[in-house]
Symmetry: D3
Subunit: 76 residues, 6 copies
């Protein structure tokens, strides 16, 4: 304990994962004074067709715009 | 916020996933009055040999029946 | 209910998964008196480069030792 | 299966929860043709000081604005 | 690793939790040959109004029956 | 996306939570080049009687020692 779980949609290299695990662990260790050996990090890659925001799949051609909508439209 | 996570064992097409994300977002938006842009949906596909009920793997030939058992039997 | 989720890094055969689901369900059933049909188990395989401890990736050549460190070192 | 988990920060009444569970189940049932009895919904209330976006706690006085920042500022 | 997370709706005493943690760990250890010190168990209590099945809240007066429905009815 | 979830057993002040959310977001932003507004952090406090390691509840008087055991003992 603690367990840090990260759901990622950005494809990461093994080196980026290694650094991310190091950094998240180090900041938690430094801030909360928890021994390093007690901190676990688990990464989960989420593919782009498994994630949506504002009702739109992240693969939508205009996702940056539609994912900021406040109101829901009618079903397409 | 909110974050809606769905663990699925039924294989879904990309179109079904798109519609599912839309529908779950829309109902949450309509019911709770939360702006659409604040609602995320994450889907997780679970393969059939990673899920069980009543102690039986979902690939069991008679899963519909055994998964409704109330009592546990001896280990096979 | 209950839902038992197991994140595993050890590769398991289908037979091991079947037995694990049976055992975890049976113990929960026996201990808490919950009908078997109400107990679900979901397994998640985590690949070795998606998990770390003490800031080190589990693929580190000396993971058994470094994952027991109490203090964090400087970034490599 | 499926299991739908919703992490909520908006306080909901019991009646809203009841309706949310009904709606999320119904849409999943209608869209994917999954028998209703196989669909579970679990809600998790997250308190406002346990959630942040863009590095800011959701209790920040100007959260709507700061949570849309693209760049991280220096540590305060 | 592994991390075993159990979402429970049945109220459990501290002694039941202690035994449940022991049993789930022991079976995983025995079956998969994983050192005990690598196995974590985390329990999450879910209150009855935060869980539903087949579209019905678990506090429904006739939950045992309605939660076994195959078809969804119209919204009440 | 990404969603960073932290299960914590160490009681944290609101100020520590605020700093933790900032730090975890900043490192992820810096390392992966993801816009800050896309990064969410959710904290979950786990009470001490809901967490165990090596089969022992974290409230065990000698937890530091017993939680490092490799072999499981007989049920107490």
């Amino acid at each position: 304990m603690p367990i840090i779980k990260v759901e990622l949609m950005t494809p990461c290299s093994k080196d980026e994962k290694k650094k991310l695990i190091f950094e998240l662990t180090k900041r938690t260790h430094d801030l909360l004074g928890i021994p390093a050996e007690k901190i676990s990090v688990v990464l989960h890659d989420v593919i782009s067709e498994d994630w949506g925001r504002a009702g739109y799949l992240s693969t939508h051609v205009d996702f940056e715009k539609v994912s900021r909508k406040l109101e829901m439209e009618k079903e397409e």
